[in-house]
């Protein structure tokens, strides 16, 4: 934020770089080789649906856009805090297709002027021992971080750091550990 913006008390939304999402398939290959985690074929986009009819229209457009190519339909859900999650399903081996869908959702919402309300996108992974993992993409920062839940609202920090070691070079990783925000119960996790 510039000096003048600070002076005038206004914040400008940052210009995000959505194309970074396309680095995920490469990172997935590395992740499988290093830690044995494979994609589950589930991915989701989280956004804050603002009040008003315009966003409802846009939401319908997104649904139609993704339903068009004979794939399984996307699912909308709302979490406890009023945020909307859009869950996309693909075959586990079709990670590029999933990433393309997530990219399309983000791009459509962004083009509709709702970029400020986009929060994050995530892609789910599963370990050989059944452990779950998500790679979360922070829309506003253009960075990724891992989120590994354990039973009882705890996080597997060791696994998260291990994942950073494995794919940190393939993805623009979030350096600030304080911003590895938990996404408990996110669809697609």
């Amino acid at each position: 934020m510039g000096f003048l913006d600070t002076l005038l008390g206004r914040s400008k939304p940052v210009k995000p770089d959505l194309d970074r999402l396309f680095a995920l398939p490469t990172a997935a290959v590395t992740l499988e080789a290093a830690a044995g985690f494979t994609p589950t074929g589930l991915g989701s986009v989280c956004f804050r649906a603002p009040e008003g009819g315009a966003f409802a229209r846009l939401q319908r457009d997104v649904q139609e856009l993704l339903d068009a190519d004979e794939g399984p339909a996307v699912e909308f859900s709302t979490d406890d805090y009023g945020y909307t999650w859009l869950l996309a399903r693909h075959a586990p081996e079709d990670l590029p297709g999933l990433v393309t869908d997530l990219h399309a959702v983000n791009a459509t919402l962004e083009a509709g002027g709702f970029g400020p309300h986009l929060l994050c996108s995530l892609v789910g992974f599963q370990g050989p021992d059944g452990r779950r993992l998500a790679l979360v993409y922070l829309y506003k920062r253009g960075t990724f971080y891992p989120f590994a839940p354990l039973p009882g609202d705890r996080r597997d920090n060791a696994l998260e750091l291990e994942v950073r070691g494995a794919v940190g070079a393939d993805l623009p990783f979030e350096d600030d550990l304080g911003r590895w925000f938990p996404v408990w119960g996110a669809p697609g996790l």
């Binding site: 009040e51 008003g52 190519d69 805090y81 002027g113």
Partner: protein, 315 residues
């Protein structure tokens, strides 16, 4: 249609090309710049007498002011928490509050501030700290009891906007000359009350006479600035939550709640009044707009309604 459709180009025909609903308000920006110019004049008027004494005196006064201002900024968060009886809470104790703040941080691209809760029954919230790196948000028990999670998010969005805009820093800088003037005037009144020091008071009378208008002008300009920043924080906070209606509803509840609050609670919030989401002064009657740190509820609601309408119109 082929089953293996090629990847869609990322920006294929956006269905609704819309104007972003959060354009900066040029009128507000112009007024704010004018107010800041006045603040600058107040600063110049404060420093001028010292420079008349000599360049060294002038520079010493400026240096002292900078050090004092830096100290105020650095400890403002601790001071505010202490004054409002707030204590920091971890994510285990207040998972909902932390989750709301975290999501707002993602939206605003801010580092997570510390989260605090105050046991006061008066519904209010404030943010303190000099900037996004060292900030704290505090809500009172009364606020949590009265507001729905969505309204709470609206209020916290407003506070996050204050942090993003560094409003505490701006407000401290603006209020600094009038604060110093007030301190001097109190000191002078103390001298004038006692017979032994009366001659010194008489000697200092011209200075006190010069400081008085400085105090008044400084007070009025810093309050005007505070009102503008509140309006800005309302709009920016709405940018984070997308729900101007929820913030308007929350503000209405807070205003009613503050009017009914116990005088002791309102007194406790008074030192942090300028940081609060709604006015916390202990009197029931509202002084004229010129002497208020917050815009009237009607004015804030009107602006939020405007954002609502823009969102309804298609963004």
């Amino acid at each position: 249609m082929a089953s293996s459709a090629p990847p869609r180009p990322p920006d294929a025909a956006p269905p609704h090309k819309a104007r972003p609903p959060y354009e900066p308000d040029p009128v507000l920006a112009r007024r704010m710049l004018l107010t800041m110019f006045l603040v600058l004049l107040v600063y110049a008027a404060t420093a001028l007498p010292f420079f008349l004494l000599g360049a060294v005196w002038g520079l010493a006064a400026v240096a002292a002011a900078v050090v004092l201002a830096a100290a105020v900024c650095r400890y403002t968060d601790r001071l505010a928490l202490w004054a409002a009886e707030g204590r920091e809470v971890t994510a285990d104790r207040e998972p909902e509050l932390h989750a709301i703040v975290e999501r707002l941080c993602v939206s605003a691209d801010l580092p997570k501030p510390r989260v605090a809760v105050s046991d006061l029954a008066a519904p209010n919230a404030f943010a303190a700290g000099s900037g996004p790196g060292a900030a704290v948000v505090c809500v009172t028990r009364g606020l949590r009891e009265r507001l729905t999670p969505e309204e709470l998010a609206g209020v916290l969005g407003h506070e996050m906007a204050h942090i993003a805009n560094r409003d505490v820093l701006v407000a401290s800088v603006a209020a600094f000359p009038s604060m110093c003037a007030e301190l001097f005037l109190r000191f002078w009144l103390g001298l004038a009350r006692r017979l032994a020091t009366l001659p010194i008071a008489v000697l200092l009378a011209p200075v006190a006479l010069a400081v008085l208008p400085l105090h008044l002008v400084g007070l009025v300009t810093s309050l005007a600035l505070s009102r503008y920043r509140e309006l800005c924080a309302d709009t920016t906070g709405t940018l984070l939550t997308g729900r101007p209606g929820a913030l308007a509803a929350a503000l209405a509840k807070i205003h009613t709640g503050m009017a009914d609050a116990a005088p002791a609670d309102r007194r406790a919030l008074r030192p942090v009044n300028a940081l609060c989401v709604a006015r916390a002064a202990p009197d029931r009657r509202r002084p004229p707009e010129l002497l208020c740190s917050h815009p009237s509820l009607e004015r804030r609601t009107a602006r939020l309604t405007l954002v609502s309408q823009r969102l309804a119109d298609g963004g």
